[in-house]
């Protein structure tokens, strides 16, 4: 029995050693001293555009620390931040973000980029919503009730916006949810997956412009409604409060915030996507709330 | 010197079935004890208890004076000074060499030492050429020799053999008995062997124990067992066939007159007048003659031949002398005398050939 215990101990030691070794798959070539990690919970809408992937190596080189980005719906990311499982929150759900800071979980809400949500759908626009503003378009889709609408269904920032629009349109969300003939509460897993589903089904959906543009080649969808004032989509970055959770890598978080709002990065964000899609996906806002 | 193994009232019960009881044995260093008895009577169980493979349900076992009945650690230590060869040899799925080396490896013996000892042992059992063969590909006799080598290479102070030649062909049996004889000759270990072949026990062992119905009924030298069985069951087992109940009607010094169904038989015994006894006479000790012979035999009876049957080169003759008497003679002799069923014949045996035991 003693030998079993020794075996177990030996294996635990070897795992720890392995875990610390470069074989762990870290992007850098660090061995010792151990390089810091800063962890961000972000929204799939933002992650799926590839923005984080492009910024990550630049950040890591500049600040000599690992950037771990985990993406899920905004609601889920906020929950992870509320338990201190990540150091930084970067989503696009204004009301929830404000509450997050007000309740003491976050230090400060710093908007770093914005774009607009768009309502996309089949080019034929079967429900005839082109030219309307967002809430009227939603009302129209519900009234016509034949062409489908795919929802994120996952408490993400996009989903919150969608719900807000139904409310603006004067409709009760539970009635909408019950209309399963045309309302697909898919929870397909991220903005990209939702767009793909809408494309497959010839349905409408609400998407942030950035993600839509980065997927447009694979989709049979067009932007039907955009530039409506009720479609503003602001991405903010918030450091998790270290006084609430002592282990938060506040230095790393602050580095990331400084990085994201720096002139160079803001310029990168502004230019992101121009080469590939012919237009930029984001507008930088330098830490200030956009007005339009 | 403390006996190497001693048991006190050892017993084993499996699920309310008592397999062994009141086994009290002493095995001295250098002894060769054969346990004989009918199959399924507890011989294997006894060996398993003595080799410390199982714990007894009652009684104690002492190895070299130390109580090894319960404690795990002392049992392991004791077990490393003993070895067992089973009836059906179990070899590991590895080479013959590795098999034989196992015991030494368990004792953390150095590699070179292991090699020397294993080679020597393989030579002893005549398996040297097979050293690299996978043990599973061997024949029964070869496997058993490997098992013996494997047991002996650890130089055990006690070697147990559980019916080691039971499943083997005569050539293999002879080879193995030869090996055992060599081991006995070297007188290093004590040996305990179970067998249902009495002749084998007689050939090899210095002492024999008779195990019947879970009890040791008698321990003694082969001649004691075969010619002076302690009781009926032993006698029946060792093949004494003339067992007759009677009473001692008269006594003169050592000479006793025992009356059986009115017939008087003379025997040498220490039992007293009036005692109820059994008399036993081995068939080989009965001499048949066509007429009353004037010989030194004190017991002469005439009777009618009831039955005759041949057993190999011999003939078993059953005669009714007022009591049944069974004798053997050669085929040639019976033909010479022209014996047939119904013929009247004289059977005689010496007083010294009569073995007397108490009757309860």
């Amino acid at each position: 029995m003693r030998k079993v215990f020794l075996y177990f101990l030996l294996s635990m030691v070897s795992i720890t050693l392995l875990g610390l070794s470069p074989a762990c798959g870290s992007t850098g070539g660090d061995v010792l001293p151990k390089v810091e990690r800063v962890r961000v919970a972000t929204t799939t809408s933002l992650y799926d555009t590839g923005l984080w992937t492009s910024l990550k190596p630049i950040f890591e080189e500049k600040y000599n620390m690992h950037l771990d980005v985990t993406s899920q719906g905004s609601g889920a990311s906020i929950n992870l931040s509320k338990t201190g499982d990540v150091d930084v929150l970067a989503v696009h759900s204004k009301a929830d973000e404000l509450k997050f800071v007000a309740d003491g979980y976050g230090v400060e809400r710093i908007p770093f980029a914005y774009n607009y949500f768009v309502i996309v759908g089949p080019a034929s626009d079967p429900s005839g919503i082109a030219g309307m503003n967002a809430s009227s378009a939603f009302k129209q889709i519900a009234t016509v009730g034949t062409t489908q609408f795919v929802s994120r269904g996952d408490n993400s920032g996009t989903h919150s916006k969608e719900k807000a629009l139904w409310k603006l349109a004067g409709l009760n969300y539970s009635d909408i949810q019950a209309a399963t003939t045309w309302y697909l509460n898919a929870a397909a897993g991220g903005m990209g997956a939702t767009l793909l589903m809408a494309s497959e089904n010839g349905a409408y959906t609400l998407s942030d412009k950035g993600t839509f543009l980065s997927y447009a080649d694979n989709l049979d969808l067009e932007i039907i409604v955009e530039n409506s004032s009720d479609l503003l989509n602001v991405y903010s970055i918030i450091a998790v409060n270290q006084s609430k959770f002592s282990w938060i890598n506040i230095a790393g978080a602050n580095n990331l915030i400084e990085f994201m709002t720096s002139n160079e990065t803001q310029q990168l964000i502004a230019d992101y996507g121009v080469d590939t899609y012919g237009q930029s996906l984001f507008t930088p806002c330098f830490g200030n709330e956009p007005t339009q | 010197m403390v006996p190497i193994i001693e048991t006190k009232d050892l017993g084993q019960t499996y699920e309310r079935h008592q397999v062994l009881k009141d086994i009290s044995l002493k095995i001295e260093r250098g002894d060769f004890l054969a346990i004989i008895g009918p199959t399924g009577v507890g011989k294997t169980t006894l060996i398993r208890l003595l080799d410390l493979l199982e714990k007894p349900s009652s009684g104690q076992i002492y190895f070299d004076g130390i109580d090894v009945t319960r404690s795990g650690k002392s049992r392991l230590k004791a077990r490393r000074r003993m070895a067992l060869v089973q009836q059906k040899p179990t070899v590991f799925d590895m080479s013959v060499f590795s098999n034989v080396a196992c015991g030494l490896k368990f004792r953390h013996e150095k590699k070179l030492v292991v090699r020397d000892k294993v080679e020597h042992m393989l030579e002893l059992v005549g398996m040297r050429e097979y050293r690299n063969r996978n043990a599973r590909t061997l024949s029964g006799g070869e496997m058993q020799r490997v098992a013996i080598a494997r047991a002996l290479v650890t130089e055990p102070e006690v070697l147990f053999l559980d019916e080691p030649t039971a499943n083997l062909d005569p050539t293999s049996v002879a080879k193995i008995e030869g090996i055992l004889a060599r081991i006995i000759g070297e007188r290093k270990s004590a040996l305990l062997m179970t067998t249902h072949d009495m002749a084998q026990g007689q050939r090899l062992a210095g002492k024999i124990g008779v195990l019947i119905n879970g009890e040791i009924l008698q321990i003694g030298t082969p001649s004691e067992i075969f010619f002076s069985p302690a009781n009926m069951q032993v006698a029946e087992f060792v093949g004494i066939e003339n067992i007759l109940p009677g009473t001692i009607s008269g006594k003169e010094n050592e000479l006793a007159i025992i009356s059986i169904n009115g017939v008087k038989i003379q025997a040498i015994t220490g039992h007293a007048e009036g005692e109820a006894v059994y008399i036993m006479v081995r068939p080989e000790d009965i001499v048949f003659t066509p007429s009353r012979d004037v010989s030194s035999a004190r017991n002469v009876f005439s009777g009618e031949i009831r039955s005759m049957s041949s057993v190999g080169p011999l003939v078993r003759v059953e005669v009714d002398c007022g009591f049944p008497l069974l004798g053997v003679m050669t085929m040639a002799s019976s033909q010479e005398m022209g014996l047939t069923i119904g013929r009247v014949i004289y059977a005689s045996f010496k007083a010294t050939a009569v073995h007397v035991i108490k009757r309860f």
Partner: protein, 240 residues
């Protein structure tokens, strides 16, 4: 159809040129699964011996429970591990959530019932007299267990390989507790849904091909173990 073909061609190109992203992700899958398996081997072989050769009340029940856990849903284990290791959970202070370490731990939990149950099953296939013979030759308990494991070595190897297969192909646990972090906790199984969801089919296909290939290798290994006599004969014939 042409889109699929194009994606497939690009995928092959990625594989043939050992595209760094593909290699890095594949290596991580292998490393994590291998570590979990190694720990499981160290736990399951002695423990399997102990359970198989001991007699105790409820032994049959224990073995039934172990076998029932074979098909434990990976997401269920993922959920439990997630709740244990998040900061607000009991093992939170170790900060292991979203690291490869917690993925290894989770896979250990997942693989142990399978490997343990199959080791016990392997041992039940050997003759009972083996352990007794070893004991009578003076083996301590551990030494006797080693001999028995050697006797059953092919069945035990099968158990280990099956355990490895379960580890490397599971998704539910890895995605829930690993966070699918690029360059850190992203594995073949967590990357494929992500890339598919992003519409990045060439990369998803390339990763899928690697995964299928690994599963194929595992099955070949198992097949060769089961039919080793055929293979050794073939091998000998080939040499001659």
């Amino acid at each position: 159809m042409s889109e699929l073909w194009e994606a497939f061609k690009t995928a092959i190109h990625l594989l043939v040129t050992f595209d760094p992203e593909v290699v890095q992700i594949a290596w991580r899958s292998l490393w994590i699964a291998a570590t979990s398996c190694a720990v499981c081997v160290v736990i399951c072989i002695p423990l399997g011996n102990l359970i198989h050769f001991s007699r105790f009340r409820g032994k049959g029940l224990l073995i039934s429970v172990i076998q029932t856990l074979y098909s434990m849903p990976t997401v269920a284990v993922g959920l439990i591990v997630f709740m244990l290791f998040r900061r607000s959970g009991p093992i939170g202070p170790l900060g292991l959530l979203f690291t490869p370490g917690v993925m290894v731990i989770g896979q250990i939990v997942l693989v142990t019932p399978v490997m343990l149950g199959l080791v016990i099953s392997a041992l039940s296939g050997i003759d009972k007299s083996i352990i007794e013979t070893a004991t009578s030759l003076g083996a301590s308990r551990m030494q006797a267990y080693r001999i028995c494991t050697r006797e059953a070595k092919f069945a035990v190897m099968t158990a280990v390989i099956i355990g490895f297969g379960r580890a490397i192909s599971e998704v539910g646990l890895s995605s829930m507790v690993g966070g699918n972090i690029e360059g850190y906790t992203r594995t073949l199984t967590t990357a494929i849904p992500l890339e598919t969801g992003k519409g990045n089919f060439p990369l998803a296909l390339a990763l899928g091909i690697v995964l299928i290939f690994l599963a194929f290798l595992i099955n070949i290994a198992l097949y060769m173990l089961q039919h080793r006599r055929t293979w050794t004969r073939l091998f000998v014939w080939f040499q001659s």
